[in-house]
Amino acid sequence: METITLKIKRQERPEAPYYWEDFKVSYTPGMTVTALLTQIQKKPINDRGEATQSVVYENGCCQGACGACTMLINGRPRLACSTIADHLSAPIVLEPLTKFPVIRDLVVDRSRFFNDLIRASSWISSDFNNPDAGLVIPSESIQKSYRELSSCTFCGSCLEACPQYNSRSSFVGAAVIGQIRLIHLLPMGRMEASQRLSIMMEEGGVEDCGHVGNCVKACPEGIDLRSAIARIEREVTVEAVRRLLG
């Protein structure tokens, strides 16, 4: 059986300094990065033959649907569970995402992202017992955009890649704007559009986007976040004019 080297950026606690540790793990073609990390759990011994603490990483659905295992793999944000090692150059370098506070090793605290999702109010206010208003079926092209935007797993890759998203700014980032666009695709969703656009006009809103387009390249689902942002920018402009005219 072949072996492969994992070079892992480790950190015991948020306030502790980071350090690098290498591991030689057995590897067969087709293995994912998560499968390689499992090998360390089974044998927490580094490449110098020293016993060490098992590497802490996030595990979720293991099928690329939950986004929990996102980390930097050879410098790029990717999902560990669906990144096959075969195409990666060795040693494989694993680091935690840099835009969120590190909790430990490869685990980060993404609560800023989740709080922004709440703030963005991308939902439709309707309850189980509310009467049916009669469903307006969107056009095929709207359905296509809906399917694309709704495939977001909230992995945070777009935020990692974005130069505007960092601890010095309050920019909400592409995924959150994408969720607003998603809701605004639907007639029911547009009913509370004004409220969401207000949030997009505030500090950290859509105007903070620098139009670099890294988000599109980073998205593992291939979502066209650039168009979504452009649409919301336009909605914000129209809304501002509308408000001005009272």
């Binding site: 060490t52 603490q53 802490v56 979720g60 659905c61 939950c66 439709i124 079926i137 639907l186």
Partner: protein, 468 residues
Amino acid sequence: MTESTIVIVGSGVSGMSAAVSAAQKGISITLISNAGLAGASSLLDQEGLNAVMPWKNDGDSIERHFEESIETSQFLARQDFVRHMCEEAPRFVSYLERIGLLFSRSATGAPLFKKLKDHSHPRTLFCEERTGFQISQILNQQVRRFEKAGLIQRREGWEFLSVVIDQRGVCRGITAMDRTTMEIKSYPADAVVMASGSYGGLCMPSKGGYFCDGSAAGALYGQGVFLANLEFTGTGGIWVDHRQMTNIEGLFAVGSASMAYQGAQSLPGNRLLSNLHSGFSLVDSSVHYISSLENKVSQISPDLFLEEIRRQHFFNQTFLDRSGNENLYELKTELGDCITQYAGVNRSEGSLKKGEEKIRELDSRLKKLNLSDHSNWRNHELLDARRFYYMLDVALAVVKGALLRRESRGTHQREDYPKRDDRNFLKTTKIAFTPLGPEIEYEDIHLKYLKPQAPALAVVDESWNRVG
């Protein structure tokens, strides 16, 4: 009332359904989960959502949906729940569409229906290949909505540890551990709802994601909660009554965590539907229960909770103190292999006995555990060791149930007893924990609407004909 008196454990479709439906009625709840949606196997459900829509004139009916659900369950599912679920299915479809779910449609805009196995008609709606994902995300939006409104307190990153039971046997809340700080806290509640999913993760690599490994049910089982029908792969779970209440007063179980909806086998496309229905049905029964409570949790001494927290700290320490040479993740892999090999699709008395032996071996090897991590900060090994301890109890219950059910039914297929035996086994397997191993009792099924009578399925209740 500012204090949240209902605690829901688990953030998949059933847990979110329970939370959202409570919030819609103005009831404040706490939603606890280890990893939010990332821990939910509903996310991975690709089957779709069954519903007989009233406008669809193809000879299908709610009765047919009900009959086929019960037939596929081999008569072990709760008929009252399933019946109501089939009746309500179209309303869930309208609700989901209203809150923004788009089912796959034809070019003319008509919703598409799949005809899945064991169905007489095409009645399964779907969102391409991601129905579970889409339904999970749309419910997650609603959870956020009620978080913002202050009705749902979401606690993500908390690992469920145990329920707190008072001297009178009433459930008064739970204890949970922060997966990062490792702080153990109690969450007092008048009603606790387990929405902790199925136990597919007993096998590794699992189909149900990392967290749905049955360990939460295992922890409850050790505390005296009955499990049921575990021998039917992935359809058993926590035993519940007609209110979805477990044998512990004030403790409920919904969705795939409970054994109520699926019986010996699940009708494809019923899983997400039953999780929705189960969650939404819970509010009324839990509120009714709370209103009948003589002493509310606010009157319970804090000592009860402190004692349980101490017990959990002590339990953690027992893992940290072990100093042997066994690696947790090797043991976990061996358990998965054991279940697959000895209690998988082909099972017989011989294989199951080997399985039982293997699980007891793993249990004794767990005592010689050697954790590489003894820290008190984001210690995944400790969390996983606790989980594994409970997984072994559940695994033993799976094997014992499979051993004693000397027949073949649904997903339980015995090579040595290939026929279904209704005379002896048209029953619910009820499993109680004892230190020596699982104790099994068989409970009669309430065949309220349908009886398994050859050649045709007999209708035994007059009200049957009214629906549809």
